[in-house]
Amino acid sequence: MSDATQLSMRDARDAEDKRLLENGEIDLLLSGWVETIRGRCIAKMRGVVGEDVAQAVCERLWRELKAGKHRDGRLPFRVIVHSVIGWVCNGWNEPGWRETELFDLDGAAPDETEAVIVDLTLEQFVATLPPGDGEVGALYYLEALEPAEIAERLDKKPNAVHQAISRNKARLREWLEE
C-alpha cells in the first residue's frame, strides 16, 4: 500500500467525521468513537472506574457537540476525542476536578493547543512492514481477513501467511512501544 493511499484513507475518515459534524449527525459521529473511548479509558484507568471515565468523556463530547463546538473543523474530530480522553483521565483523580467538570456546563474545554496531533495510524504501521509481510498485514489488520482467506487472496501457502502474521505480531508491539 502506498503512502498516498494510506494518507487518503486517514483523510477520508477525517472527512467523513467532518461531514457528519457539518450535517449535524452528531450521534452518528460520536457513536463511531464510543468503543475507542471505552477501550482507552479502561486501559488507562483499569476496572470499573474506566467505565466511569469513559462515560464522562462521552458526556463531555456530547455536550460540546450539541453546543455546536468543533464545527469549524480546525482539528480533526479524532484529535479532539483523544485530547478529551487524555484530559479527563488525567484530571479524574485530582481533588475537586470532577465536581467542576460535572457542574460547570460551560467550563473550560481541554486546551487543544496542548493536544498531540495523532498522526500515527495503523495504516502507517502496515506501511512500515517489508514487502510480502505488509500485504499480509494490510489484509489481516485493516480488512480483518482470516489467514486462509489471505492465503487465497495473495496466492500464498497458508504456512507462509501464518509466519508473516507471527512476525507482524512482534513488529506491532515494537511499533506501539516507539
Binding site: 484513507m9 486517514r10 475518515r13 467525521d17 450521534d27 452518528l28 460520536l30 457513536s31 463511531g32 468513537w33 464510543v34 468503543e35 475507542t36 471505552r38 477501550g39 482507552r40 479502561i42 486501559a43 488507562k44 483499569r46 476496572g47 470499573v48 472506574v49 474506566g50 467505565e51 466511569d52 462515560q55 464522562a56 462521552c58 458526556e59 463531555r60 456530547w62 455536550r63 450539541k66 479524532r78 483523544h82 470532577r98 460535572l102 457542574f103 456546563l105 495523532v118 500515527l120 495510524t121 495503523l122 495504516e123 502507517q124 504501521f125 489481516y140 489488520y141 485493516l142 480488512e143 480483518a144 502474521i165 505480531k169 512482534a170 506491532l172 508491539r173 506501539l176 512501544e177
Partner: protein, 189 residues
C-alpha cells in the same frame, strides 16, 4: 495460563478490525501480572487505529446520553426497575410490604428528583452492586439534560372513582417517617 502480550495485542487488533467488542478489561485480565505492560500498548493501539463504523449499541448509547445516568446504567444492563428494587430490598433487609415505597423512592432517585446525598450508604451499595457502576457516576447530574428533561412516571394503574381516597383523620396527619423514609431521605433524628 498467561498468554503472550503480542498474542493478546494481536487478538485485540483483530477484534477491532472485525468490529467486535474490544473487551479491554478481559484482555488485561488475561495478561495477569503483565497488565501494566500491556495497558499502554492497548492505549497506543487505540490512539492509532481508525474509528469503526458505529454499531447499533453505540448509537443507542449516544442517544441515551441525555438520560439520567442511573437510568442509562440500568438500561445498559438490561435490568428492570424491579430488579434493582429487589436488590435494595434484599440488601437492606426491608420488609416485603414496604417494597412499593422502595420502588417509588428508587424511581425518584433514578429520575434525578431525589437528592442522592440523602440516600443511605446501604442503599447505594445495593444499587452500585447491581448496576456495576460507582456511586459517583450514578449520582452525577445528567450533563446533557436540560431542566425540561424531567423524569416521567407511569402510574401502576389509574384510580377507579370508587377507589378515590376520602379524607379521613388519618390522611390529614402525615405518617411519621419509617425505616424506608430514613433510608432514602436521611434520618431526621
Amino acid at each position: 495460563m498467561i498468554v503472550e502480550l503480542e498474542t493478546l495485542l494481536d487478538e485485540l487488533a483483530r477484534r477491532h478490525a472485525r468490529g467486535e467488542p474490544l473487551d479491554v478489561e478481559g484482555t488485561l485480565a488475561k495478561a495477569g501480572d503483565r497488565a501494566d505492560e500491556l495497558a499502554p500498548l492497548i492505549e497506543a493501539f487505540l490512539e492509532r487505529a481508525p474509528r469503526r463504523p458505529p454499531s447499533d449499541e453505540a448509537l443507542a448509547y449516544v442517544r441515551s446520553l441525555d438520560d439520567p445516568p442511573m437510568l442509562r446504567a440500568r438500561v445498559a444492563k438490561a435490568l428492570r426497575v424491579d430488579d434493582v428494587v429487589d436488590s435494595i430490598v434484599a440488601a437492606c433487609e426491608i420488609q416485603p410490604d414496604a417494597r412499593p415505597k422502595v420502588r417509588r423512592y428508587y424511581q425518584q432517585l433514578e429520575g434525578g428528583v431525589l437528592d442522592p446525598s440523602r440516600v443511605a450508604t446501604s442503599v447505594w451499595d445495593a444499587i452500585t452492586d447491581v448496576l456495576g457502576r460507582s456511586r459517583a457516576s450514578l449520582a452525577a447530574p445528567s450533563l446533557g439534560a436540560t431542566p425540561s428533561a424531567a423524569p416521567m412516571y407511569r402510574a401502576e394503574r389509574l384510580f377507579e372513582p370508587s377507589e378515590m381516597p376520602t379524607l379521613s383523620a388519618s390522611m390529614t396527619e402525615p405518617e411519621p417517617p419509617d425505616d424506608v423514609d430514613a433510608l432514602f431521605l436521611g434520618d431526621p433524628g
